[in-house]
Amino acid sequence: MPIYIDQNTRVVVQGITGRQGSFHTGQMIAYGTKIVGGVSPGKGGQSVEGVPVYNSTFEAVEHHSAEASILFMPAPFAKDAALEALDAGLKIIVLIPESIPLHDAMEIMAYARQKNAVVVGPNTFGLVSSGNSKIGIMPNRYFVPGPVGVVSRSGTLCYEIVGHLTENDIGTTTVVGLGGDRVVGLHFIDVLKKFEDDPATEAVVMVGEIGGSAEEEAAAHIASSMTKPVIAYLAGKSAPPGKRMGHAGAIIERGRGTFESKAEALSKAGVKVADLPTAVPPLIKTALADK
């Protein structure tokens, strides 16, 4: 049972005429995603990869009753575009840009709450319902159907781990990129709840990293409310405190957000923490066999 999106989800691409927007529109269509329209103010009437381009998101929604949107644009323009998508009634917004100002992100999230919409990211690779549809920029070939749900704060590391699963003939149900920023829409807990309720998902992999408290909060939730097995990999064990490790959110501040704190919280909650990315598939195999 697909969660968040399925093969029928109708998607708008905001910023479709840019280099990234047009390239990934092609990639998403190749994966099977229903891209129904694109938006690029001032470029309405054109077409990209066979997709009609509109001047406004409202216009695209009027023509195609779209449900979801993916955004490709420089960070300073992302707030306006995201608020437009929410105001136009879209219920899933995927924010690809990184470096969106924190206060902009908070305003987007506040409006999404009012509109009962789901925001994925910012600074995410998006999400994919394996074999059905993807709204994101992940490489198509690693995302094949199977019994494992994956949720990750980082992109390439998630591909690496999903790649290891695929090599071991273990496919995925849904893979969600939460995004590397400090204020992101979806958190581990939101996605873990969906996986718990999804009959197709038999085990879960969470890919976390240093900084913030999302892993600790997830651990508390797993201990109290999850019956399905969860395997974790955490990046940043060797990171020095006070330094931002690529992601805005990956920083140990005032002694908080350390690898040790996260690993301990997860272990206590019964989560097996893999010490290497290659250790994830054997742990998942064991978890699936024990069921």
Binding site: Q20, A75, P76, S99, I100, P101, L102, H103, D104, A105, M106, E107, M109, A110, R113, I137, M138, P139, S152, R153, S154, G155, T156, L157, C158, Y159, E160, G163, G180, R182, V183, V184, H187, V207, E209, I210, G212, S213, A214, E217, Y233, A235, G236, K237, S238, A239, K243, R244, M245, G246, H247, A248, G249, A250, R254, G255, D275, L276, P277, T278
Partner: protein, 369 residues
């Protein structure tokens, strides 16, 4: 971007938040003159360190000679490895009570979070949890009067202090929002006979929002090398070891460093050259790393929007132009993998497909040079 105390206080003044009268000086003799103007003073080192007080970076003086002596002492101090270049000299204020007040961002709740306590003036880590009141603010509502009153009620604050706080909080919140702050912390917030005064100021501005705050000065805590990397738009952190690491993506770069340590090696840096870097940027990343004189170079590429052939071409270009004499361990998979591999084989570089093998090889290589 962290602001020095004096810059934080300049911002406060713009928002009508009371701060002690003071002057910024760079020489000890100037400190003496300020005493003549203000009377008894506090002399504070302007460094971006939370250890300033404990390290002796704050002094007191009541006459010219004393001020000059204290100022000279503090200017000579190195705090947390940082030199003191400027001193903020402020009038001594009459403090009746010390509070703690901060606004930060709660990533889990997607909201600004007000933190307030009656236990001001001490290390915030030492404040008991039940003595710290926290209140998340919905940005669509902003700081309303009832919120300030409710924060006071929960703190157990009444009377004059309540009146003062209810006036004070919206000003700090407005500054926090308009200046794109990620932290605005006042410890202590001093109650004086004239009302509340921000005796200290710790303000951090969101780096990603600096483009819309051209009026603010630019302050950096980065090393020269990290600054160069910033110019190239690379995520770079200097570390202590001898294996230079280059990878694409923050998470996988962190995981590569972790794996180097796991197999007994020491990474020299964190370098994430991002997704979809072109030939130029990839070459510059490589050149930057080679400039740090590492023992071994480890490149870990999992190509999604990053193309393996572009990375391989960049490597060959740098090798041809600048020479790459050190041992290299190269992992290359993903988009245009076979093209990339062919390019590298022509210059005698073997590649790994497994990250694990590439990292182990890099660690082994450190033993051979």
């Amino acid at each position: 971007m962290k602001l020095y105390e004096y810059l934080g206080k300049e911002l406060f003044s713009k928002y009508d938040i009371p701060v002690p009268r003071g002057k910024l000086v760079e020489r000890a003799d100037q400190a003496g003159q300020v005493v003549d103007e203000l009377g008894g003073v506090v002399i504070k080192s302007q460094v971006l360190s939370g250890k300033r007080g404990k390290a002796g970076g704050i002094g007191f003086a009541s006459d010219f000679a004393e001020a000059e002596k204290e100022a000279a002492r503090i200017l000579d101090l190195e705090i947390d490895g940082l030199a003191t270049e400027k001193l903020l000299i402020e009038e001594k204020i009459e403090i009746e009570q010390e509070l703690y007040l901060a606004i930060t961002i709660d990533g889990s709740a997607h909201r600004p979070l007000v933190l307030a306590s009656l236990d001001g003036g001490m290390d915030v880590e030492d404040v008991a949890e039940d003595r710290m009141i926290s209140w998340p603010v919905d940005v669509t509502l902003g700081m309303q009067g009832y919120m300030a009153r409710e924060i006071c009620r929960r703190m157990g604050v009444t009377g004059n202090l309540q009146k003062e706080l209810v006036k004070f909080l919206p000003k700090l919140y407005r500054m926090f929002r308009e200046q794109d702050a990620e932290l605005a912390e006042i410890n202590p917030l001093a109650l004086t006979p004239d009302g509340l005064v921000a005796a200290d100021a710790k303000v951090t501005i969101d780096d990603d929002a600096l483009y819309r705050h051209q009026e603010l000065p630019r302050i950096t805590e980065k090393t020269a090398l990290e600054l160069k990397a910033e110019e190239l738009d690379l995520a770079y952190v200097e570390l202590e070891g001898d294996i230079a690491v280059m990878a694409n993506g923050a998470g996988i770069t962190m995981a590569t460093l972790d794996m180097v340590k796991h197999y007994g090696g020491e990474p020299a840096n964190f370098l994430d050259f991002g997704g979809g870097a072109d030939l130029e940027k990839t070459s510059q990343s490589l050149e930057l790393l080679l400039g740090t004189d590492p023992k071994v170079l480890l490149i870990n590429i999992f190509g999604g929007i990053t193309r393996c052939d572009v990375v391989a071409e960049a490597f060959v270009r740098v090798k041809d132009n600048k020479g790459i004499d050190l041992p290299v361990s190269f992992r290359l998979v993903g988009t245009n993998e076979s093209e990339g591999r062919t390019i590298l084989e022509k210059v005698g570089i073997k590649t790994f497909t497994s990250m694990d093998e590439a990292v182990r090889h890099a660690v082994e290589l450190t033993g051979t040079v």
